[in-house]
Every structure is written in C-alpha cells, then in structure tokens.
Assembly symmetry: C2
C-alpha cells in the first residue's frame, strides 16, 4: 500500500516543492527528476530516488505501476499524490505522472581518474541550464568520457538542467572543478587541453583526435576567460559565415565533440 497524499501542505510535498530552488537542494542534498521513462532509465543504472511521488494515472498503467513496485522493494519511500499535488510539485500545467527526489552525486573530479586517449568535454562558466542539459545529452550520445563544469556554472541539478538532459544526468559522468585543478588532472593523463575560441585561425577539425582531449568551451556571452585560453595547448574555432557572430553554446559543443568523435571512427557507436 502506498501512502496517499492529497494535501499540498504535507511535509514531503513541501520538501519536494523546495527542490526547485537552489536553497532547497542545498539543504536536503536532493534534486528532482521527472517522468516514468527517466526514472526507469535511472533504475536501469542502479539509481533509485530517496522519495518517489506518483499520480493515480501512473499507478493504473502496468509498466509504471511495476516501476513503483520495484522502487518500493528497493527501499524507496513511495507516495501516491493527486494530480493537483503533482502540478504543484512540478510547477507545470501538464506534469509527468511521476517524480523522484534523488541524492545529488559527488561531483569531485578526483572520482574520475583520467585515462590517456579519453575525450572529455569541459564547460567554463556555462550559464544556461538548458544548454548544460543538452550538452550532457550530447556527451552521452557521442560516447564522450564525461563533462567537467569549470568555475562558477549554473546548477546541473536544477530542474531545468535535469529536464534538458533527458536522463543523461544519470548516464554521463560529470564533475565540477576549478580551472587549475582541471589543468593538473588532464596533464596527469597527457590529455591536450583544446579551447574553442574566436582568437585563432585553427579550425576545430585540425588538431589530432587520436590522443584524446579535453575540449573546453566558454561562457555563452564572454567565451573562454584569458586564463583558460593561456592554459590551452591549442585554440580552435568553428568556421562561421553569415550575420550572426556565434553559435548557440550547445550547438557549438555538439559540432566540436562530434567532429573529434568522427575522426576517431565513431568508436563505440551502436
């Protein structure tokens, strides 16, 4: 039997709602991920939420009812909430039928010992959670080793970033580090640091891809910091034409990462 909750002032509901704000996430160490599909994908990776809220609509579908059953068996605290309460938790008019509160991961760089030949993506001071989520998704699809968030970035555990990642938040290794720490880390594995910048004539498809790399992209408005550019072994630019003077950050990251992967023969592609 699930514990039924229909009051928006229920303490668990209030806690879930608090996870939209950075403060709430910091106080609880939890973040929200929505949707039966995403929660199933996380479960396939052995990741269960601490708390799971499901609407009657979810419990009436065999597949998602089974998912809730397995969650309960795995020790997850499961609540049955009215759809009205789920609207409040998700802050969406048409919420997913299920929402989970997961423990934030340990994002220290030391948890990811670098290996020679790997292909990492690093983002300095990325600001938009939609871009961050989309880039996690691209790194997962392109078989990147993972994503490193450098300096002060938007919160990868925000609802917007998790939504945009479409499950890649659980599947893609990612870490947070200061620039100096990243630089020492990648040098330990002999990985070249390659920065995307307008301050060069070298194209993004020119450096060798065979030695692996940390591909470093900068902030949406300002690009890479001077300090970051100084630490790079090479700067590359994505060719552009037209009136616009830049690409969307997530588009640029996709172009650069996929071209490196292409030159590695799309190793590991399905």
């Amino acid at each position: 039997m699930l514990h039924k909750v229909s009051s928006p002032t229920n303490p668990a509901v209030k806690m879930l709602k608090s996870l939209h704000a950075k403060k709430g996430r910091a106080e609880t160490g939890l973040f929200l991920a929505e949707g039966a599909r995403l929660i199933e994908e996380a479960a396939q990776l052995g990741k269960w939420p601490d708390l799971l809220a499901a609407a009657p609509a979810a419990l009436s579908r065999p597949q998602s009812a089974d998912l809730v059953g397995r969650a309960a068996a795995a020790g997850v605290r499961c609540l049955e909430t009215s759809e009205a309460v789920l609207v409040q938790i998700s802050k969406r008019d048409n919420p997913q039928t299920m929402i989970g509160a997961y423990k934030r991961f340990d994002t220290s760089l030391a948890r990811h010992p670098p290996r020679r030949g790997q292909l990492w993506l690093a983002l300095e001071a990325v600001r938009d959670p939609g871009n961050l989520g989309s880039i996690l998704r691209t790194a997962d699809a392109a078989g990147g080793a993972g994503v490193i968030l450098v300096g002060g970035t938007c919160d990868p555990f925000s609802v917007e970033a998790v939504r945009a990642s479409m499950g890649a938040i659980f599947a893609t290794p990612f870490a947070q580090a200061e620039l100096e720490e990243l630089d020492a880390w990648r040098k330990a594995a002999g990985l070249p640091l390659i920065g995307a910048s307008l301050n060069t004539r070298e194209r993004h498809d020119e450096p060798s891809a065979q030695n692996g790399a940390v591909l470093l992209l900068g902030n949406e408005q300002a690009g890479l910091s001077d300090e970051a550019e100084r630490r790079c072994d090479a700067l590359v630019r994505v060719p552009m034409r037209g009136k616009a003077d830049s690409l969307n950050l997530a588009a640029a990251a996709a172009i650069v990462l996929y071209d490196f992967w292409r030159r590695r023969g799309y190793d590991g592609a399905a």
Copy 2:
C-alpha cells in the same frame, strides 16, 4: 523629441504586450525583437521595426541613442518608455533597454527559388521555439541557404524563438510549407531530400554533399513522419552511443549541417 510613455494602459504599450500571444501577432501582423544589438543588426540588413520602444538607459548611451535617431529618420514611430513599462512589455525582470515591433515576413516558399547545389535545412513539426531559434542561428553560421518549416510547427515569430535566434531571424532566409510543396520545390532544382532518422544504418556523413541537399529533421518526440521518410532520397542517422537514445534536435541539426558543410570545404566561411 520622442513621445514619452509611462502608462501601462497606453494603447501602444498594450499592443506591444499583446505580441507575446499568437493571437496578438496574428491580429497585428507584428512580432517583437529585443535589444539594441539585435535591432542594430536588423537595421544593417535594412529591416526597421514599425514601432520602437526605448528606455531612458538606452537614450543615455551614444550608440543606442544614435540607433533610435536613425530609426526615427527612417520613419519608425519611436517611444520613450519607463523601465517599468519595458518590464511589462518584455515580461522579463531585467529587460533589454530597447524593443521593436516588426512586420512578420512573407514566409511563402515561392519567394525562395531553389538553386542547384544549395544546402537547405528543413524541420518537420518542430515544437520547441528554443530549438527553432537555435537552428536558425546554426543555419546562418553554417552558410546554409535557409530553413524551411514543414507542416504545423511552433511559431517562428514567438518571443522565445526570436530570442533564441539571436538575430538570425532577420539574417537567415526561412519559409513555411507543406511537405508536398517542399518536395516539388526541391525536385525542381534537383536537390536530394535527405532525412535524419533512426530507421537506417547509413551515417549522416556518407551521402555526397556536392550536389547540395535539403536536410530534413523531424519532431522532437516523434521524429520524421512516415510520409516524410517515404519522400526522402536517402535516410541517414547520426551515430550514437550511451544510454540516451537521442540528441537534442538543435544539436542534431548542428551536427548534420556542419558535417555537410565540412565536406563542401566550409565554402564561404569567414
């Protein structure tokens, strides 16, 4: 002298606010574009708004004051609005200091006679205005001939799409058409129709890029319709690995378009 407006019930202000809704845009034939930089870029292309609202902060900066002066000289009706009014017009806490209402463009496909060898991007039933804007920006940067919106898509003139396009809405040719019309149009110029799909083993970098192409991508959730796939000369897929089963649509479009452009030697790149 600018006409000063500080009342949110001023008819011009009410009209500008109405442009956030599709109904308001349909009734007036206008859409909103924000920011001095974007309005300057549009002006460089010879495109002026019908109505321009500027905050005192804009008028106190020589560059943007000059822009307002040129707009007035070009016959644009210019208003000086308080920042509070601009907050209401833009529905943003930190609005740009300037906002313009532009006439919607004629988006009929017939205005763009296709030419042999061109590289076009087409989007069937794209739903997310952020994706649409980002893709317009990518097409502009990659020197694509333009973007064709196929079937029922989100509104390219919505505030969200215009924002995400970062000015490419003015610079990138784009049209709206039904699938059948697009198919006849591209056949007239001998352009192959190449669809991105999971229903193939052919990679996106395999078809010849030299003959030009219309690169067709499908809806965020459903991909291409069966009908669209049937009309394609070739289907291609972007290689993927990892747990996620897809890329963000704007990322996929960037990867496919840039790889075609790469194989055309990045012709026209700055």
